[in-house]
Symmetry: C2
Subunit: 285 residues, 2 copies
């Protein structure tokens, strides 16, 4: 059965879901996106995603065409129409389609809102059991990585390089330190049992799953330090892992072909994954 | 009369010219564009634009869906159908629309090719007579500015800031030097009559009009230096100007509210503009 997408007020078959060639998302990457996981037909940590959406659009002065409450209704409607059990809802808002192409913000143009869904068994993902390999690439992105914009070409190139190397993620390196993955946050567990992940700032996206995992770890009296770390430190660590809305917590078992820890998912990573899945199921709406 | 656009093999009314919401131009800014000026119904310096298009797509390993010869035929067909006398043809090629959203390159997906036109009296533009004001903004773009990708959000924000300040362009500053304008190349004429514009490299787009103007100046035994310059140097210069496919050569009369030279378009800028217009008319196809 063909899936349904949402485009500017209409529910349409995904194959007919289109935007104007003048849409500023298509011409200028002048848009913001979010991806929320769906577990058992419910949205995971969605308030956090919608709060970040509001922050991102604010940073580029794009007004949401709908309230976040209404956006959540549409997300749920799409999940229902697509009978989605496990997977994700993608949403993108752009500065709309003007009658021509001019860099400056258009006047009187309604922003575009697009949503579609995808199926994915996040909890039962094989990579959650095996862990993933990671490669490193230079971080060549712009300076406002805290804005979740669709200007993702650098990430596309990073993740393509990872795919070609048989890796599941690319960690981006700037000034000798890991910023984050192409579409995930990066963590290590040091030999003295400190969970380390880079502090928020314009160098990285403030990950929703990252934030939840840090909070869940701290609630359990685990030590967390938010600071930059190097690949050398990651290779000397007990464990490494990534977090994102669509993988939750996933072990990193090698970096650039070198084993991390035992070369298998570590116990802390497995525990945090379980804790996160429990949190996700308990709080999904 | 409604204008015609080109989308993947079809000529359609611009209002009906659409791409899938899964198009990677829309989701990832995974696309390249070019803008060629049209004078008297003919394409200006188009071979240079098509050569740069080939270079840009090569840098991100995107295969053009048509030969550049065929692309030029389509450009000309669009100019004819739209009875375009003076203006521009915009073209964008993206890595196409897959059946879902995954960062890595899709397999077996045909790239998207979109074109549309716009009218503009480039030669008779009032700004060519009065010159433009320029503001400065930090250059926060990614590190591969030599690739003419549609990941233009930083330029959108820069040019919006310019528009709000009553300026016609924003010069982007990195490490104390001008890289380029939001959608143009930056030049100055020093007190000892040297034309200075930044050397090509990953810090700037290799401007087609920049390249032609440099060649035309050198043919006339004018001294040209390709190197970075600061705003202080620009404010101490005799003249300043920008070049781009859709403004040709345009005087800069102030930077951040401070006069450049006499505060009016200078004689060298006017001369280079005339020389370029002559070149454009003589070589347009």
């Amino acid at each position: 059965m063909e899936k349904t997408a949402y485009v500017n007020g209409s529910y349409v078959p995904l194959s007919e879901a289109k935007v104007s060639v003048l849409d500023r998302g298509f011409l200028f990457a002048d848009g913001i996106y979010e991806v929320a996981a769906v577990l058992d037909g419910k949205l995971v940590d969605n308030a956090s995603h919608l709060a970040r959406l509001e922050r991102s659009v604010g940073e580029i002065r794009l007004e949401l065409p709908e309230t976040t409450a209404r956006i959540e209704e549409i997300q749920k409607e799409l999940v229902a129409r697509n009978k989605l059990v496990n997977g994700m809802v993608y949403l993108e808002v752009t500065r709309g389609a003007d009658t021509g192409r001019d860099f400056a913000f258009p006047k009187g143009v309604k922003p575009t809102l697009v949503m579609f869904t995808a199926e994915k068994d996040i909890v039962g993902s094989p990579a959650a059991k095996t862990g993933i390999n990671v490669i490193t690439v230079p971080d060549i992105r712009w300076e406002r990585r805290d804005i979740k914009s669709v200007a993702l070409l650098a990430q596309v190139l990073a993740k393509q390089a990872a795919a070609e190397a048989g890796a599941g993620e690319a960690w981006m390196i700037q000034d000798g330190k890991v910023t984050e993955g192409g579409s995930s946050s990066a963590f290590i567990l040091t030999q003295d049992d400190v969970i380390v992940t880079r502090q928020n700032g314009s160098e990285i996206l403030p990950g929703c799953t990252r934030k939840a995992v840090v909070a869940l770890a701290e609630e359990r009296q685990l030590r967390v330090e938010e600071r930059a770390f190097s690949i050398e430190e990651a290779l000397a660590a007990k464990e490494a892992f990534i977090t994102s809305a669509t993988v939750f917590v996933q072990a990193v078992v090698s970096i650039d072909g070198k084993k991390v820890g035992s070369g298998k998912p570590g116990p802390l990573t497995d525990r945090l994954r379980e804790i996160y899945v429990e949190f996700a199921k308990a709080t999904a709406v």
